[in-house]
């Protein structure tokens, strides 16, 4: 039996398996995010006897008991016991795509008790601060990342933001990449601002009220479970976040000078 532990957003998950190829995929895919510390979550991982099945979209079903979920896609089926922080994963294909999809669901739940969210956003560090740039596909996340060669990449697609004690919020490096195909740096950087992106003819930032910021943020939060208590927790964390961190609408054209607008917001 092999055990590989990944640490994402400060939460450690042990992937336990008797299949060396599964352990190798985890080790390779999450190379910058491996940990030797004690695991918060434990996932028993094996192979799905029927292999790939005919089901493209990921589905999350709640079981009879609170916090029990079944997650399924064409390339895996999994169960999670959120209160116990345990789960099972049966892979139909031993590759990083199935693992990555599964771990995105796991971390959307695992980070919540710690006051953290997965957000459909790019995040970049400059100096001692981080900026998060949220928006749907095509809004400019990867473009803005490419316009920032001097910045530290935390994520080009799925960012992790976590509330800390004392009113701070930190952006964590994320292994969940997008078009760039590159993991973020495994670091925690204080979050200076959140910008909601759209392409425009000129750079322009507009400060958002907490209500508009919350309404802009929530559609970008990755969340898969419909349990009321979990949905309430997502809303609470998101509301705390927009109360603590300045939020802006950012229209930009694809030029590096966008950082002047960001710095002056």
């Amino acid at each position: 039996m092999r055990e590989v532990t990944v640490e994402i957003g400060g939460v450690r998950t042990a992937i336990v398996t008797r299949h060396p190829d599964v352990a190798d995929v985890v080790t390779d895919r999450y190379a910058g995010f491996l940990s030797r510390g004690p695991a918060d979550w434990r996932i028993e991982t094996g192979l799905r006897p029927e292999g790939l099945v005919d089901q493209e979209d990921v589905t999350v079903r709640t079981g009879g008991q609170a916090g029990r979920l079944t997650i399924e896609r064409h390339d895996f089926v999994a169960t999670l016991d959120v209160p116990a922080r345990t789960g099972t994963l049966a892979l139909g294909a031993v590759d990083h795509i199935a693992l990555d999809t599964f771990l995105r669901v796991v971390y959307s739940l695992a980070l919540l008790p710690a006051g953290a969210l997965l957000v459909h956003a790019a995040s970049l560090g400059r100096g001692e601060r981080a900026w998060m740039f949220a928006g749907p596909s095509g809004s400019g996340k990867t473009t803005l990342t490419r316009l920032s060669p001097d910045a530290t990449l935390l994520s080009d697609e799925i960012s992790i933001v976590r509330l800390g004690a004392g009113g701070t919020a930190c952006c964590y490096g994320s292994p969940f990449w997008g078009e760039l195909g590159e993991a973020g740096r495994n670091a925690a950087v204080p979050l200076r601002a959140i910008h909601f992106l759209r392409h425009a003819d000129r750079h322009a930032t507009t400060a958002l009220t907490p209500r508009r910021a919350l309404a802009s943020l929530l559609p970008n939060v990755l969340f898969f479970a419909a349990e009321p208590a979990l949905v309430r927790r997502v809303l609470d964390v998101a509301a705390d976040l927009v109360a603590r961190v300045p939020c802006f609408a950012l229209g930009f054209r694809p030029e590096p000078s966008v950082w002047e607008a960001i710095d002056h917001a």
């Binding site: 209500r211 919350l214 309404a215 969340f223 419909a226 009321p228 949905v231 809303l235 509301a239």
Partner: protein
């Protein structure tokens, strides 16, 4: 005249900012934002206050005539019922 006792779906998650509500649907996690009048009706929908009484309060709070308030509030409540955010009780829910 409108009747019944509107009641919020207890599974919905919501917050009010500066008089305007942000609500997340329990079943599909859809986001709904309400204007101040809609938020007023939403907050009053406790299952114990009749729609008629809620309309009276809307008239007082927003200086609107009763016919307009009744028409708009009834349409709004029906809309939220269709979205699964409200239900209409035939009798007031007993106080807990």
């Amino acid at each position: 005249m409108p009747d019944g006792y509107p009641e919020q779906n207890p599974r919905a998650a919501w917050r009010v900012y500066e008089g305007e509500a942000v609500i997340v649907s329990p079943e599909d996690s859809m986001l709904h934002t309400l204007n101040p009048v809609g938020t007023f009706v939403w907050e009053a929908a406790d299952g114990r206050t009749g729609l008629e009484a809620i309309i009276g309060r809307v008239c007082e709070a927003f200086d609107v005539d009763r016919a307009t308030a009744a028409r708009d509030a009834t349409a709004f409540v029906e809309q939220l019922c269709q979205r699964g955010l409200l239900t209409i009780l035939e009798a007031p829910r007993p106080a807990a």
